[in-house]
Symmetry: none
Subunit: 420 residues, 2 copies
C-alpha cells in the first residue's frame, strides 16, 4: 500500500507531534571482495564505518530494508525522494527541469516549460568534449547566465537561473508549449559525439521543440565568443549548452493536504532536493553547504515544524565517484552528529536512504536500503546495528520506500483509527 | 510490483548480458513428522537431500521465498510459470487447451478454440473408470489421433495432435467459436461417474458448446470399436475421450517487447512448459527427455540466447506421486549437474521453483518456494544453503514470484535508471 494512495482513505490527526526524516543519500552499498568474519562476505561501506550512534538508534528502533521503486530498478534522485515522501514513484514522475526550477526558488505557472541546462565544452566542429565544462564554478555560471538572458524569442518569455557549478535552469513561458521533448544532451562525449536536435515526442510538442532548438542555437552563438574570458577551457574548446528534462508544472498533491501536516520544512544543501521538497509543499530552510551547518539549521527551526526532511548528500557523491574509503569517512563524520537529532527529542526519528550508491558500482543502484525508525511507540526488533547485513533481519523486512510516511505518521500517532 | 505492469513504465537496455532461469518444478516441500536437530522440526525433501552445489549458489547469492500467485493459493503449472516470467498470474490466465496446442508446436489464429483431450477408460454404461486409459503409451495415442482426424463437422476445421502419453489436443477453426465452456472431464472416476455435457458458461458460447458436444459424441463412437486392438484396457472397458480447458488464442505481451530481451530460449522436456514458453515468445530448444540431455542442450545453445528458461520436471512428478525419497534422489541427481550452469558463466543465475509439491501433500501447494539469485552485482545475504528453512531467512523475504524477472533483469543491468 503506497502512502499517497492509502492517505486518501485515511484520517489524519494534527496532534502536534514532530517527525524528523533523516535521508542519507545513497547510503546503501555493496561489499568489497575480501571476506570478513563479521558477515561471511566482504563488508559494505556502512559495515566498515564505525557508526555507534546510528547503531544505537537501530538498536532502539525497528528496522528493515526499503525498496526505492521496484525490485531491480535503480531510481533517479527525484523519484526516490518522492517515494520516501509517500508518493507512488511510478505514478508521480516529475521532470528534471521542474525539479531544477523549484530547487532554485522559481515557480512555474500552468503552461510553463522548464529545462535543465548544462554548460559544456565543445570542440571547434561542435562535438561534445566535456559535459560539465571543467566542472565550471558557480560564479562563472552566474556570468554566463547573464549572457543567456539576452536571448529574445518571439512570443516567449524566458527565465534563466544558475543552479550550481555547471548547471542552470530555464523556464519558457508562452502559448502552446507542450514539453514532451527529447534531450539535446547526448549523455556521452568524444570527437564524434554531437548534441542531439530536440525532437517532439508527440505532435503536440512541435512548437515547443522549435522554441527549444531556436534557444539552443542562439545560446551557442552568444556563448561561443561571449564566454571567452569567463570560462577557462582547454585550448580549442569553447562553451555551449546541453539541455535535459523538458518538463511542465507537476500536478502533485501537497503533503499538507495528504497528511494534515501543517508545517513541513526541508534542510538540504543541494538544489535538486530542495526542488522536490518544494514541489510537495515543504518550506526550504536556509542552510549552508556543510554538514554541521545543516544540523545548526535544524536546531534553529526545529520548533517551527511538524515534519522536517533532513538531507545529507555526500555519501551518494562518494559512491558515484567510486570512493569507498571516502564514503566510509563521511558516514563516520555524520554519525558523530547523529546525537544532535536525538537531543531535539522528536516523537519520531526515521533514518532512511533514497537508494543505494555502492562505491563498487559507482552509480545509483536498485539494492534495498537500510532503514530504522525510533519512537516511544515502536516495537523494537532484535537488530542492533545500522547496516545492510543487520537491517535485512529487521522486523519490517523488505518494504516499498513509499510506505515510509505511513510508518512515520503512525508512530507519531497521527493516523486515526481506521474503520468502525 | 508485478514485472509486466512495471515493465510498461520502465526502459530496458539490451546490453548483451545473459540470464539463466533454472526452474525446479515443485521444488518446495513439507517436513516429515520425525524431528531433526537441524530444523527443530522434521526435514523437507530439500533439507534431506545432499545438495552442496545448490547450497553453494545460495551462499554466494541473495535468497528468499517466492509466492507463486497469492498467499494460500496453489497454482496450476501454466499460471505458476507465467508468474515466474513476470506476468500477473491473476490477470493472464491462459487456458489449458492453448498451452497444450502451443506445447506441441501448433499455432492458433484469432477465433480458434483449443482443448486438451484425455484418452480415458469407459465402462459399458459410459461411466469413467480410468481418466488416463492405463497411462496410454504415446505410440498408441498417435494411432488413436489418426481415428479422431476422420471426424468431420459442418463449418469447422479440426486439427488433432498427440501431446504425450494419454494426452492430446484439438483445435477447432470456424465462425463464432467462443470457448467459454465447461469441461466434460468429471475429474473423478467410478461406476456412477459420467462425463459432463459441455455447457456454455455465457450465451455467446452456445454454438461452441454444440460443436464440442458433437465432437465428443463422434469421437466416442469412432473410438469404441476403432480403438480395439490399439489400446489394451481391462476387460469390459473401452476407450473414449474427456475434454478440459476450452481456450481461445491468448492475448499476452511477448517477453521480447516487455523486456528488450532479443533472444529467449526454453529448455523443457514436457510439452506444457514448452507451450507456456512459446506463448510468451521463447524459442523451444531441442532436447531429449533426460536431465543430462537438457544440460547438453543448454551447452549447445547458450551462446545463442540472452535469456534461457531451463525447466526440470521430475521433482514435481515425485511430489505428486507422494514419493518423498524419490524426490530427494532426484534433487541430489540434479544438484550434481548444477556446476554446469556456473561453468557457462552467465551474468545472472536464478534458481527458482514454480510452486511447492510436497510429497506428503501429493499435489501442487501454496507454500512459498526457495529462491536464490547469483550475480556479480548481488548483495549476498547470510543464508548458506538452498532449502525452505534457510531461504526463509533470506534478504528478499517472502515476495511475489512475478517479481522474479525484475530481480533477474536488474542484476543483469538491463533496467535503465528510472526517473530524473
Amino acid at each position: 500500500m503506497i502512502s499517497s494512495e492509502a492517505a486518501s482513505q485515511l484520517d489524519f490527526e494534527d496532534n502536534g507531534s514532530k517527525i524528523i526524516l533523516f535521508v542519507i543519500d545513497g547510503v546503501g552499498g555493496l561489499p568489497l571482495p575480501e571476506k570478513s568474519p563479521l558477515t561471511k562476505r566482504g563488508l559494505t561501506e556502512l559495515e566498515t564505518a564505525h557508526t555507534p550512534n546510528l547503531d544505537k538508534l537501530a538498536a532502539k528502533g525497528i528496522t528493515g530494508m526499503s525498496v526505492p521503486v521496484a525490485p531491480g530498478v535503480a531510481p533517479g534522485s527525484g523519484v526516490a525522494h518522492l517515494a520516501l515522501f509517500g508518493y507512488d514513484p511510478l505514478r508521480y514522475a516529475i521532470g528534471r527541469g521542474a525539479i531544477a526550477a523549484y530547487g532554485v526558488g522559481l515557480d512555474m505557472d500552468k503552461g510553463d516549460m522548464a529545462v535543465r541546462i548544462n554548460f559544456a565544452g565543445y570542440s571547434p566542429t561542435g562535438a561534445v568534449l566535456d559535459r560539465r565544462a571543467g566542472r565550471l564554478a558557480t560564479e562563472k555560471n552566474i556570468e554566463l547566465c547573464k549572457l543567456l538572458r539576452e536571448i529574445k524569442l518571439p512570443g516567449v518569455e524566458i527565465v534563466i537561473q544558475t543552479v550550481l557549478d555547471y548547471r542552470s535552469v530555464a523556464i519558457f513561458r508562452g502559448e502552446g508549449l507542450h514539453p514532451h521533448l527529447s534531450d539535446s544532451d547526448p549523455q556521452a562525449t568524444g570527437e564524434n559525439v554531437f548534441p542531439h536536435e530536440v525532437k517532439a515526442l508527440d505532435p503536440k510538442g512541435e512548437h515547443a521543440g522549435e522554441i527549444a532548438n531556436a534557444f539552443i542555437k542562439a545560446a551557442n552563438e552568444i556563448l561561443r565568443e561571449g564566454a571567452k574570458g569567463i570560462a577557462d577551457l582547454p585550448d580549442g574548446q569553447h562553451i555551449g549548452i546541453l539541455t535535459r528534462g523538458y518538463a511542465d508544472r507537476p500536478e502533485i498533491p501537497q503533503m499538507q493536504d495528504l497528511y494534515k501536516l501543517k508545517r513541513l520544512g526541508a534542510i538540504a544543501t543541494y538544489p535538486d532536493y530542495r526542488g522536490v521538497a518544494r514541489l510537495v509543499g515543504m518550506d526550504i530552510v536556509y542552510t549552508g553547504h556543510e554538514l554541521v551547518g545543516e544540523f545548526d539549521a535544524l536546531d534553529a527551526v526545529f520548533q517551527d515544524y511538524d515534519f522536517i526532511f533532513f538531507h545529507v548528500k555526500k555519501p551518494d557523491s562518494a559512491g558515484e565517484d567510486g570512493n569507498f574509503s571516502e564514503k566510509v569517512r563521511i558516514l563516520e563524520e555524520l554519525d558523530e552528529l547523529v546525537p544532535r537529532l536525538e537531543a531535539l527529542n522528536p516523537d519520531v526519528i526515521v533514518i532512511a536512504g533514497d537508494h543505494s550508491t555502492p562505491a563498487t558500482y559507482k552509480a545509483h543502484s536498485w539494492h534495498p536500503v537500510p532503514f530504522a525508525l525510533v519512537s516511544e511507540w515502536c516495537r523494537p526488533d532484535s537488530v542492533k546495528g545500522f547496516s545492510e547485513s543487520e537491517c535485512e533481519h529487521g522486523a519490517l523486512g523488505q518494504f516499498p520506500a513509499a510506505e515510509v510516511m505511513l510508518y512515520a505518521l503512525g508512530h507519531a500517532r497521527r493516523i486515526a483509527k481506521f474503520g468502525a
